[in-house]
Symmetry: C2
Subunit: 225 residues, 2 copies
DNA sequence: ACCTGAACACCGTTCAAGT
DNA sequence: ACCTGAACACCGTTCAAGT
């Protein structure tokens, strides 16, 4: 029992990759995207920036690791009734996770091909294949779903970021957007000015799922599923 | 003819909002997303940072203005044969513009509700309405298309950014991604490791249009168009 | 092996001073 | 009205020195 920990005795709460990631997530959640800085992280961990660099490569890698720690549990597959249901589960799990941690949205967007994105690719790819989409069409189908999800994620993140920066709650934010749009010249922007009112009452989560359903429906039609 | 210019005689090539935006675009195109800095911009314009701040609010606004200058001409509506064709025109115009100016992708993503995004909303909203999508479903339909486009845009930007940072051309970049994916454990990542080979030959532009067609097809099915 | 913290290079923004 | 450029606050990263 003297050497349970790998080759070292460390003061309790000492640094580790995991503790750094945990502290980063807390900082990002409480302070927003701009909250993760090395000074702030060093303070929170009661250490110097150099110590952090011993455990991680750089800030980008830290962000991706933090993102991965949120994404992975959000998309763990439940037993779903059908491939469509599995895809909806993954999508909803991600949407809710990103809603709770908006910074995940912008990180996800800036890190295609990295491990969080690959997890999602896989979680969507398997049910898309099970759906019966022809082999050579699977990539474009999965890519469309992934891009759509990431697009929503990024915009939600940007909206949350804006609202935070101006310390607006959701309703105030929506009211502001709605007012701006309704003031657009209705000759030049008939659609945007006309849709402004609906901004106030729309449900992000429902709208998100409509997009998923549109793509799933398109897959069924185009490939006779 | 003495007072053609508004209330001032300026040395040729003097500062103006337009000249600043033009220089910014040149910098972003030639140096990538990180290329737009006030030191670099000041040097290019042979002035000091303070002078630039006389004409623009801050860096964010400058990025959005530069983005807008690319987006606006990219989506000017041609006479299209059908609403579907109009939507495809807008989507392709944007895709090509973002391909030529990858930084537009990440800027677009970070500025929802701003003028570049509203232009796109309008350019897609009008044909979606003309398509016959019921009034109360138009927002979710347009939002889905917009999010998909923005999602693709952001990922393309991130990929271009990565390739530039590692000075890889497109083929080298794809090869690297393909190799990474093919080395994934095929027990845990059957889809991703299986699709790796296709990475090398896929056509971004075609895949992008498949996504648009999936959504359009979904609209036709769900709303009996 | 792991941590400390000063130092470096760089950046966005401000502002008193000029014309 | 418009420009100059020094100064400020802040940040990511490095590294010689410690334990």
């Amino acid at each position: 029992m003297a050497e349970k920990e790998p080759a070292s005795r460390r003061r309790p709460g000492s640094l580790s990759r995991e503790s750094i990631i945990r502290a980063s997530i807390e900082l990002l959640d409480s302070e927003g995207e701009g909250g993760l800085t090395f000074p702030a992280l060093s303070r929170k961990l009661a250490t110097g920036p150099g110590a952090i660099y011993w455990h991680i490569d750089n800030k980008g890698a830290l962000l991706i690791a933090a993102c991965d720690a949120i994404v992975a549990p959000a998309i763990t597959p439940r037993r779903a009734a059908s491939p469509e249901a599995a895809i909806r589960d993954v999508a909803l799990g991600l949407f809710d996770a990103i809603n709770a941690h908006p910074w995940v949205g912008s990180t996800l967007m800036r890190a295609p091909g990295q491990s969080p994105a690959i997890r999602i690719l896989e979680a969507i790819g398997q049910p898309v294949a099970a759906l019966g989409v022809p082999d050579e069409k699977q990539w474009s189908a999965v890519s469309a779903l992934l891009s759509y999800i990431v697009g929503i994620a990024g915009q939600n993140a940007a909206n949350a970021q804006y609202a935070r920066a101006h310390s607006l709650n959701r309703l105030d934010f929506l009211t502001e957007v709605s007012n701006e749009w309704s003031e657009l010249d209705s000759q030049i922007y008939p659609f945007s000015s006309g849709i402004a009112a609906r901004m106030l009452t729309h449900d992000d989560r429902e709208d998100f799922m409509v997009g998923i359903d549109l793509i799933l429906s398109g897959l069924a039609t185009l490939y006779n599923l």
